[in-house]
Symmetry: D2
Subunit: 442 residues, 4 copies
């Protein structure tokens, strides 16, 4: 009998493989714009995946903490969006890729807004937007929010913070430029100070994977179960990460990996597969665009191997519409669906329904027995379609449960054969002057 | 009884609604950089959706043809990628958003490459890459490829072509700049001439929706069934569209609509929901970024209404793992899955399996009876997991069909109860010195 | 007795000294953007000065011819200005330094005009402005004009021309960009072809010194005596050279050398000391800004040694106003001037005159006997001052010749003592009821 | 008899004319980036010229004081250059025109240096270079230096200063950017504070004309007689003003006016005619480039009218070489010069001398009686030429005084006829075996 760890953990196995394969990459260089970053262990490499169900997988050194730096940008953006909404945030910062490096000036010539929240200027503007009555309170809210994303209390590295304060002149320049254009209000030096504190928050690869999983999970931390930000905020943050998260290599990253992601100068990287998982890594050797060399290679392979690319077109499974026919009487349309319904699946069902309905004077039977779920879109589409059928005078029978209330007169059944029989019966009765008393309201 | 068209066509109904709502938008202006464009009917507005199953839906004027202009860029990129592969194409053109307008120079200072294939410079470079022995053959291949995407033969508007030739000095300048940096080989004026012909190809909104659906469908035209480009090419093209297709409004589009898309100066727009559909529209009134005013508004609403955003996190359906337990004997792990399996679903199954396995000395029963499909990733993950279990000496039973061949000794069953009974029996027999002769090789 | 060449030729001696001192500089690199340039002898170094009087001085290899390249730019600008005037030329090209390299795009975002005529784009626009009925005639006029500046017929190097044509894609790009903005009319490829022919004209260092001397001499060739362009054109060309002639090292050149100048990629350089001389050199080793390393060093030393900087403030010579007094009678103001009069000298004379006049009821005697010349400004100022004095009723006597006609009644004299005596006499007579019949009209 | 002011003051008359002609120009707008500037009287217009002799001329309102703003830049640059020298200053700031507006960022991508000291970034860097042990001392030195240029104590406008401090975020941004690149040391906010104080110094048009005249006069205030900065510093400052003083209209200004100049946002402008005068004006209506509309028009006319353009080629006066001949004996060369000698005049004398000398075995007589002065260059050239003649064994006689000591044996004379006779005598004696005992050492 095998030991537990030599079990069926295919995901851990894959992480370990890419960790082994790319852990020996030694090109790239450790960032040194502040001395503390230059102290980083260039050989350190950890990789962790946290699913939206809270399942964690790891390879390498995932418990070593490092300062999050730019990795905080999407999460503080999430906080600002949750507090203020996209319109208010959008008045201070754009959402366009700048095609430039992380510390580019990239302020719009007309509005003075920084191009996006993933470059330093935009991140400083976003940090300053977090509502608070004092800088201390503002940072306290940011630190708490980062902690809720990670599922545990995080701390500031005071040495790194002091080092940032001592050397961060360019960021102060960006803040003053934004103060000059009106994008930033209040004291620019104070705004940058808060930003430096935020950059100096330490977390582990495991923490970062949980943070990413929270975005993958629509804003709810899959480990703690806490809702950190609303679902639309998670969608907005992931959109910005997709376009702007990897600096001037964003396009190449989308082409080869195809997941929204964010990197940081300390060598951390977090990528998110929406409605699937967050994946994080740490390796201080950076390429020319400022992204971790080993991490980019590892995620590129994982994306290809597991078909994770946003544009990936998976092989189809069983057809949504199991059966689309007209009964032997030639009068009743029968449509049976299966699986989980989203827009496309619902469209398929309704397309089949519409096609059959035209030649079926006796009504329709819609069998949803083997449907395993519907998203909001599918529910709305089916609800609307049933309403139209009923209002159009069709005799309608639904087999199985409907996860919404349909108005009007129709028939519910738990068995397809019974439903078809009832429909045929109703058709005959309808020709009969006496209406069928068996109908009930849905 | 209702008329056929007043039936359950919820998708057409939605298209008609947004067509009606935004068809009255009259801000924006008609492009006039060549006279023929300025002749466009500013009130024209058509909207069509073609699903990857080949189901078509329409609202407004979808049969009016217009010149595709920049809308040809992703499709000729697809042709070049199919012929040459991403590495060769990448030597001539980047994949990074430039944050600039469609006619920006945006050549890399070091490599001389244009930033991406969606700006004019990049598109001219891509057109010139299409292998051919003569310009005429090159254009013939391009026209044929566009026709295969559309599912019908397309034609050049000779008036527009001549007008482009007369006024296209800036594009010739871009070509000469690229000739100077070595990105372009051969005669720049000839390269631009081919590009102008390509821009002058006419198509309808319906055609354009089919072209988009072909990309959504992984490169196979869902109407004609013809494979136009391989699946990886479709993925690559959609990635570039997502990052660069909407010019300097690409970030805003990703934020609000969340679909890879491309617009053209004639007022056309095509967006793609991967593995779902292509949607196209035509409305000549353009906003400052060069995108059709009505179309942007209409697609934003449709995306929100139908949950089409790439980052959308749909409500979960029925759980992948229907059952994860240990039999009453406490010795057999039983995992039952349902629905279609992709990476995340397979991960869930294996996660449950691993958890149960540890405390189940008697083996595992994996019930896949209600699984409706597996993508390549899920197949590979399950195949690997079964191999590990078998090699680890576990007693393994699979209920239902496996879409791959698993090596080693294991048990197949068509019924869960029988499978559990057989597993219990095997456990008892295993304690018995006489090995069970009933085992067979999978 | 010394040989003639060991005589008093201090200028040649100085040229030979700097030629010797900087001829050994071997940093810098030979331009190779076309193969013919790369063939240049890197050790070649010649230096020639031609005064506005036609005195020539030389050191090193001044008879070797080389293609003028960008050195033609100021002279073709002169031709265009002479033909069209500054307003027409200014509609096609600016006069602002761009702070960028010679082949920068630098087109104004609003007007599409290139920044100045010394960068390639601007020079191409200027060449195209030369009025002609055909490209052949246009180039013929340009070649003839260059020859008139040099004082001999010049020729095109056909090999270099062909090489330019083969490799000059970037220049064609610039031309097409300007064709697109409307700055350039006609065929851009043809315009660039004429520009390439112009760049391929060969001349020697001696020729180039004569060309510079012609600008120094207000547009008249000091060797042939031919007026090549009007004086205002020479002034305009020198202004543009001062601001834009040395590419992105124009400011440093002004700081250290202080003369309008132009360099070319073949290693030639011409500098002009207005109303003094032209100085030219050739040395193919170029610095990062594209200027010849040895030439920049040599001219910097010559400028310092001979006080040639435009902003140089020479030690004053004898005072303009030799004498400014009131006669012993206390009634007559006497002002005596010497030397050549320009604005400042005339101002000094008139300042003295005004100061003395106030307390001199008996009139003024202005002694110009030792004045050696007046420029147009000084003439106009003195003419106006005399008119004011006469109209103001002063008794005026001028000793010496006036180079203009003064209206009104005044006295001319050839001797100061006589003039003073006559003035005193007139004063006495004026008190006398009988007017002095000796006065005559000036 | 005329009133004193209706006298011969042609310069004042000209100032009054252009003041009248352009004082009615009302296009342009008053700067309002700080409220205090917007309070300026848009109709105010004063114009003053101060010659390098200390002669002052005025038209309009010249006694109204205004804050100098950018007009302080060249004068503080002069202070820094005087204290540190051009090499040290050059390490912190370039001297190249940026082709950009006054508040452009324009930091060199490699060195981080601002393009030049006339844009805000460069001026802040220069201000910070002024050696001092405290910010208060630094500003005190700056204020004192400005006062020495103006010839009177100047004061800070505290309201304007406070307003600058409140709104000057962009300048602080520039300072932080330079702090980041290492160009600026110390506290950026403090550096900008000193710069704001400097900008808020008030002066009148008359003051500003004196400041300009001090530069024209090689660094010595012509009114107080005080040397403010060394002559090379004045030359360097004027060079920088010529290239960069008029922002992005520097080239147009050079073309049309041709004098080094500086403008300020408060509507002041100072221009300098080297070795002639400073001219200043104040008129708050600014054009798009930030230069005073009326002032630009007025100075353009004055420059043309008085031939003040740096490239102006004045009509020649009397010839430098009055006489160049060989005596009737055919043995003695006689060269007589007149006027003030500079490089070109000395070159003419030596050119004539060399030409005559060759055929004159009996020696040379150089008549300098009517030479009215020599600059350092002419002295050095003549000294060298005499040395060469004497060393070459020529019999040399100089008529008139030499402003330097010539070594070797030669003859001095006070009368040309005597000199020629003595030379002929010496020639005869030289053929005689007995050497002439009358020769003496020079």
């Amino acid at each position: 009998m095998s030991s537990p760890r030599s079990g069926v953990d295919v995901v851990t196995e894959a992480l370990a493989e890419v960790h082994g394969r790319y852990g020996s990459l030694s090109d790239g260089r450790v960032a040194d714009y502040i001395p503390q970053l230059a102290f980083a262990d260039r050989d350190c490499f950890g990789l962790a995946l946290m699913s939206m169900d809270g399942h964690g997988y790891r390879a390498g050194r995932c418990g070593v903490s490092f300062t999050l730096q730019s990795l905080t940008k999407p999460f503080v953006l999430a906080l600002a969006l949750a507090e203020l909404g996209p319109d208010d945030v959008g008045r201070s910062v754009g959402a366009e890729p700048s095609g430039e490096a992380f510390n580019a000036i990239s302020l719009d010539a007309v509005t003075g807004r920084p191009a996006n929240p993933m470059i330093n200027a935009g991140a400083i503007a976003v940090t300053a937007l977090v509502p608070a009555t004092s800088p201390a309170e503002r940072f306290s809210r940011i630190l708490e929010c980062l902690g809720r994303f990670a599922g545990r209390t995080l701390y500031v590295d005071e040495d790194v913070y002091r080092s940032e304060v001592e050397t961060g002149h360019r960021n102060r320049a960006l803040a003053y430029l934004m103060r000059g254009t009106g994008v930033l209000r209040g004291d620019p030096v104070q705004a940058v100070d808060t930003y430096f504190r935020q950059c100096s928050v330490r977390a582990t690869v495991t923490d970062l994977a949980v943070m990413g999983a929270t975005l993958a999970n629509g804003g709810t931390n899959p480990v703690t179960g806490e809702r950190v930000v609303p679902e639309p905020v998670a969608l907005q943050v992931l959109s910005v990460m997709a376009m702007c998260g990897m600096y001037d290599a964003a396009g190449s990253w989308m082409l080869h990996v195809g997941l929204p992601a964010k990197s940081g100068v300390s060598g951390g990287l977090v990528a998110v597969s929406p409605a699937r998982f967050g994946i994080a890594l740490h390796s201080p050797l950076l390429d020319a665009a400022g992204n971790p060399v080993r991490g980019v290679a590892a995620l590129r392979e994982l994306s290809e191997r597991f078909g994770l690319h946003l544009m990936h077109n998976a092989a189809p499974g069983a057809p949504t519409v199991m059966l689309s026919t007209t009964t032997s009487s030639g009068r009743i349309a029968l449509i049976a669906a299966q699986g989980k319904l989203d827009f496309t699946a619902a469209e398929r069902v309704l397309f089949a329904l519409e096609r059959r309905r035209v030649g079926a004077p006796g009504g329709v039977v819609l069998d949803l027995e083997r449907v395993t779920g519907m998203d909001a879109t599918a529910k709305a589409m089916l609800e609307r379609a049933l309403t139209l059928l009923i209002e159009g005078g069709h005799d309608v029978t639904v087999v199985g449960d409907l996860p919404f209330r349909a108005r009007g007169t129709w028939r519910r059944s738990t068995d397809r054969a019974q439903a078809l029989a009832a429909a045929e019966h109703a058709l005959t009765a309808a020709r009969d002057p006496n209406p069928d008393p068996g109908r009930h309201a849905g």
